[in-house]
Symmetry: C2
Subunit: 210 residues, 2 copies
DNA sequence: ACAAATTTTTACCAGTTGGACAAATATTAG
DNA sequence: CTAATATTTGTCCAACTGGTAAAAATTTGT
């Protein structure tokens, strides 16, 4: 019998193992080649199994992609959600930057998968962007507005501040090739995430100080 | 006779016209679908000509892509090149941000084409990144270092400052779908580039003030 | 141990895609 | 106007790709 894709129904040990291996391999390939740029064969090869066997677990190529995106979005929102209304504003923003930068370093493939999806017009996650993500950004924007009113932050457009944090941090995952090409073989290349963290924290602390 | 692709040899009127139409169409499709995601037929359809006719001007799909990338890189470096050693540091940085933001608004397709290429590991422009781009960044980094030594800028890692400007400005082209999803139908969506410019200038002026 | 259910393999196919080729048509130079 | 040259079209194909179907092998529950 065909297994129900990613459903809540009980899955066998083998199913769990193989689905995990497949998604891991799919992430690797999708994130570097894009959706249309990857072939099922590539994923199958990376997963060490035959194409029909892979298709036994995910009936269509799109199913793997969708599964990865769904899984991703939850983790993606977490760092922003953790921004604490009770904390010290500048400290909270620094912590947010650090968390995002850590994610860029630890999960560059996820970042690139996301970037690929957005670049192509977000056909598979448009609703979530307009739904969950938008609501979260609205909520945190209000929080930042409050901080500004309390003179704890310099006046600024909260939404665009958030955008700029996304941009600068994800850049280190998405544009890593470019960054490494520029930093070249020097010592700097090894410390790029540290260096980025220092520079960004300095920029935002001074830039947003009331 | 087959025309020499993008060579310096004399080209007929028709050649010039058609090559332009083709590249324009190719940019449109490549930038939204990625390299592997676009088919020659799509480009041909967009250019209003038959596939074999298109292949008469560009023998391979890759030739169009390469032509676009080569053309792009020159324009891409221009705004940074214009950064004036004789100017007022904070003013020069603001002007650079504004120029980059203008490019993101005016040429989002070029930005996305570039982003796609980098995301996939920059297979076609690695050399240029390590060559021309790196040299330019080195040069401008030294300039910024000088400004810092002259106490005209707060201490910061110049290279990472440049990266952050790239990231924040290009973000408005590359992640436009996401930004629009979040700003939604509100008035804000129309003024997003203005708002971004204001926010970024404030951030960098305060953040880098010595 | 044995039947039932699950997993894997083998063989296959239809649609798409990049690209070749030569014939037909249009343009230009003399 | 004609010959040479440049452009366009129609036809074709081999490789690739997503996906199917059924048989074979393996695992699992009892």
């Amino acid at each position: 019998m065909k297994p129900r894709a990613a459903s809540t129904q009980r899955r066998t040990r083998i199913q769990k193992e193989n689905e995990e291996i497949i998604l891991e391999s799919a992430l690797e390939i999708f994130s570097t080649n894009g959706f249309r740029g990857t072939t099922i064969d590539q994923i199958a090869a990376a997963a060490g199994m035959s194409k029909p066997n892979l298709l036994y677990y995910f009936r269509r190529k799109e199913d793997m992609h969708q599964a990865l995106l769904d899984q991703l979005l939850t983790n993606w929102l977490a760092p922003l959600e953790e921004m604490d209304p009770g904390g010290e504003p500048l400290e909270e923003i620094c912590k947010y930057i650090r968390r995002k930068l850590e994610m860029a370093e630890k999960y560059p493939r996820e970042s690139r998968l996301f970037a690929n999806e957005i670049l192509q017009g977000a056909p598979h996650i448009k609703e979530q962007l307009e739904g969950a993500l938008r609501e979260l950004v609205d909520e945190k924007s209000m929080l930042i507005e409050n901080w500004i009113e309390q003179k704890k932050l310099a006046p600024c457009d909260p939404r665009h501040v958030i955008f700029s944090i996304w941009a600068t941090t994800q850049h280190y995952a998405d544009f890593d090739v470019q960054i490494c090409a520029i930093l070249a073989e020097e010592e700097r290349i090894k410390t790029r995430f540290e260096d980025a963290a220092k520079m960004l924290e300095g920029l935002y602390v001074n830039g947003l100080k009331p």
